[in-house]
Every structure is written in C-alpha cells, then in structure tokens.
Point group: C2
Amino acid sequence: MIIDVHGHYTTAPTALGAWRDRQIAGLADPSRSANPSDLTISDDELRESIESNQLKKMKERGSDLTIFSPRASFMAHHIGNFQTSSSWAAICNELCFRVAQMYPDHFVPAAMLPQSPGVDPASCIPELVKCVEQYGNVGINLNPDPSGGHWTSPPLTDRYWYRIYEKMVEYDIPAMIHVSTSCNPCFHTTGAHYLNADTTAFMQCLTGDLFKDFPTLKFLIPHGGGAVPYHWGRFRGLAQELKKPLLDEHLLNNIYFDTCVYHQPGIDLLTTVIPVKNILFASEMIGAVRGIDPTTGHYYDDTKRYVEATSRLSADDRHLVYEGNARRVFSRLDAQLRKKGL
Amino acid sequence: MIIDVHGHYTTAPTALGAWRDRQIAGLADPSRSANPSDLTISDDELRESIESNQLKKMKERGSDLTIFSPRASFMAHHIGNFQTSSSWAAICNELCFRVAQMYPDHFVPAAMLPQSPGVDPASCIPELVKCVEQYGNVGINLNPDPSGGHWTSPPLTDRYWYRIYEKMVEYDIPAMIHVSTSCNPCFHTTGAHYLNADTTAFMQCLTGDLFKDFPTLKFLIPHGGGAVPYHWGRFRGLAQELKKPLLDEHLLNNIYFDTCVYHQPGIDLLTTVIPVKNILFASEMIGAVRGIDPTTGHYYDDTKRYVEATSRLSADDRHLVYEGNARRVFSRLDAQLRKKGL
C-alpha cells in the first residue's frame, strides 16, 4: 500500500471560497456576515472535485491512500478572531470528513485547528476532540505562526503549546507543522514562508528539550524538512555547539520528514542523510507546484517517481517510506487499517 | 588561487564588543555612551586575532584569500537608530580595512552598511562610497531585514532599495544578502534566520523583475542558498506557475550561491543542480559551526574538502568555483589582483 501523508483539499467546490469571502467581509460589515448553515455543498459536488482531481491523479500515479486535510493556505488563521477560525475550521474539517466517508479506501482525514493569533491554543481542543472522536481524524496540522508571517507566537518548545501536546499524546496522533498564507509581503507563501517555517520549527526543537517532556510526541515536518536535510551538517554542528545530544537521539525519535521535494537530486539527498525510519512518502498533490517539469516530462509533484528512482533505498526501505513508517507514526490510521484486515 | 568569498571578522579583539556594549548602554543612559574615539585597538592585537584564527586555518586548509567583512551577527541593525548603526559600521569597516592593509595577500574587505529599520537605504551610501573608494572594498553585505527577524522592510525587489543598487551597478560590486542577529525568539540566528533569509531573498527575486531594471546587478546568496538548491524543482515549478522565464535566464545571470554547506551530500547536491558558473567557494570560517564532525574527523566548515571530494566538478569547474567565478563576480577584486600581476 502506498500512503501519501500530505494532501490538502485544494480543489474544494467554489462555494467554499465564496462562503469564506462572505465570512471575511462580515468582519468589517456584520450585515454581510455568513453563517455556517448558509453553506451547502452536495455529495455530487464533492465527488466531482475529488474524482477529477486528487483521486484521478492518485490512480494515475499509483498511490492508494491520502491523509487529507483542509487547504493549508486557506487556513489563514490571521484573519478575524477565534470565532472566525472556529467556524471556518469546523466547515473545512467537515468537508474532509465527508470526503473520507465517501472514499474510505482512499482518504483519511487530518484536522486543521481553529488557531487565532494570541489566543490560547487550548481553545482548539474541542475541535481536535471532535475530529478525532467523531470524524476519525488520524492527525492534526499545527500552525507555528498563526499570525501569517509575523511570527508572534512563542516557539513550539514553549509551554504555551503544551495543552495541545498533551491531547496529541493522549490520542497518539502526530502533528504536521504547517503554516498558512503569508500576509507579510517579504515572504511568498509557498516559495518562502512554508520552507522557512519547516526550518524554523526544526531549529526550535533542536534548541529546546521538548521531547524530554513529551517522549512520545510526534512532529511531521513537511516539504522535505525545508532547508534541514540540505544543511544536515550545519544542524549536527549546531547541536554540538549547543551541547545537545546527537540529532538521532535528540530529535529523530520524534521528528519525521515527508518527501515533498520536487526533483530527483533533492530526494536523493533526503534519503542519503535522513534515516529511512524518519521519511514518510508524500506529494502535497494537488498543491503549490502543479506543472510539468520540462526536464523530465513529468509532474514536479509526482514524487513517487523520485522515490522509485533513487538508488539510496532498498525494496524494504521503500516499503517503510510508502507504508510502514506512516502506519507507525499515524497509529490511529494503522488501527483503522487493521480493522479492515489491511 | 583559492578565494573564500565569505569570511567575517568574528574574532575581533574583545575591546570591540566592549565598546559596542557601551554604545548600546548609552541608548538608554546617555551618560554611559561611547564615542568612536574611545576605542583603541592596536595593530598587534589585530595581528594576534587574525594570525591565530582565520589566517592559521586558511593556511592549514589551503585557501589563499578571504573576502572579509564585519561579523554578521554583530551588525544588529535593529539596535538604536541610524546614528547608532553609522558609528558602528564605520568602526567595523575600518577594522576589516586595517586587516586587509596588514595582510594584502590574504584579506580583501567587504563592507557592512549602516542600515537601520525604517530608514531610507540611501542613507548608507556615504559609508559605501568611503569603503569602496578609500578602503578598497570589493563588495557589500546587504541586510534584507534590518529589523532582526520581524521582516518590516519591503522585499528586495521594491524601489525602496534602488539607490543602493544604482551605486552597486556604478561600482560593479556585488551584494551578499546577509541578515544579522534575530531578535525574534522564533528564529535561531544561525540555524533558522540566516537560512530563511537566503530562501526568502531568492524567492523575492523570483517573483519580481528586478534584474530587468538592473541587468548587471549581482547578488550572492550565502549558506549555499538556504533551502533553494534542495528545492530547485519547487522553484523551477513556481517560476512556471508565475509565468516567469526559466530560472537560468530569469535569475542566474545575477544570482550566485556560495559553498557554505557543511557536509558532503549538501555540496554534492549544490554542484548537481546549480550551474558551475553560479557557485563561489566559501566557508564562513570562523563562523556559526566551529566543531569537528565526528563522522569525518574534520571541521564542519572546512568546505574545501567537500568541493575537492565531489564527483560533480571537473578540474576546470573547480578552478571556476575557487577563483574564476569570484574574479568575475567581484570585478574590483579581479582588478586589484591584476594590478599585482595575479
């Protein structure tokens, strides 16, 4: 089985975006505000958006199951207040849940949280509980910068975040550390902010001792870990300077990287420097980079081709990257699959 | 000849730091303020700091000439106002000039600028002119985020920066795009902020059309280009999405990367994906990572070993990386060397 641990519902029916536009307009002019009950999206619309997009490409490329969360750039936690994020997260998570119900063999949901800048992360717990207990979510996306590029929250190692971590540990669910749209004009969302956040999150964990407090906490750092694997020597050296243990011991029992790196040399490097047990297959399809690479004739984000082609992985390694590691890290997914005899 | 294009005066005599501490104390309590004339550092002190550190390691490792600029993390443009930065930059640039005068075969200076958040970059031009015309500086370090991790300045493609670029083009000097200390607790200075800035600067250039306005402007992106080469497929794909030309044409006549990547797989990737003409040898010695890599027994920042060992470069390629490209990009260095018959 090939499990893609990083897919977002980027192709949701246009009614979703229109509702969000009304919600945002309502922040300035309450007469224009939208209620969640105003939004109606039929099963047929969901089917059309999935079957002609993600599911079509999964079948073409040969992946079986996607861990599916709301569109990352649309989370936009910086907009409005907690109530804004709360309504929006509930709507987006429900849509992913409905998709997973319709295609239980192909999609399993992961939740966005109703984060809001300056609001206690504990406020997200009711949505998290609902998504895990009622919707069968197997993970969450945690935004380390709900301000959208101004980085006003404490580092991930701060006790500020601990209530979320306690709940993650209780449920044994991982968090993908994933920012949303940048509203800082310095940072392009998918070309700078996403990658910077990956690097930043890793370095926050490196400087702290979070995993002493939470030995079973699991973070998935997307986009191949930002700059981290390319600078693995730098990070190993910085850990030495900071008198931390070797990274294998200090971080690699808790931190995982996905394979959203869109060319062969990148995947070759990732699989050279990061232990196989820490690499999870993913494509972020359909995401930031949708075109065809003129140097290969294939889609940039068809990352399975790079994983297949790299000489760094044995057949057993590939099984871990495609399935074994995902089932270990997303243990609730494993439990769901076992119930089905898989 | 082996030219290291990225070295900072990280080992300056302690009197320099003590003066800076007094300058900062004076911002809150003018009775404690320091005048530039209060600082006295002898030639012997400079000699000691260089001969037992940078010059010693250059000889051990086999590099000949370092483009030498003030300590990046000490620039700290976020402290005080323009006058604060102006006094500080003048002092730091003078020290690098003195080092270059004492060791003309081994050090050539590059200037820090007296940037200050919210202050027109044109205010830096007198210091830049002095450094080029009187001190023989061959390049500058330009900080895209003088706020120190809050990213409050416009992107590098904004006309806000154009007065600096006009002067760079007039002198035909490149800018290394290099941030300073992060005062945002989210960003570790050398483990996150530096790399993020490299990625951010590249993406700013990718989304803009700066090099249409300045076809001969040259930016050196340090630390191996941050996350950029590792995600080269992503950036090629994003350029397509944004309807930009291929990166070779859009950016690679103007943007260069150094080799400050502290392990072999990183240098292998850099030299695989980035054209040889765009790679300049550098180590940032003595810098953020000073230890010995237990997996190799050599210093992490002894980057010459990786450049020697990579199978990606021919002898001619290595000559370009070590010398030819540096002389082309730093044309005023080339002119100085030619005057000496080199």
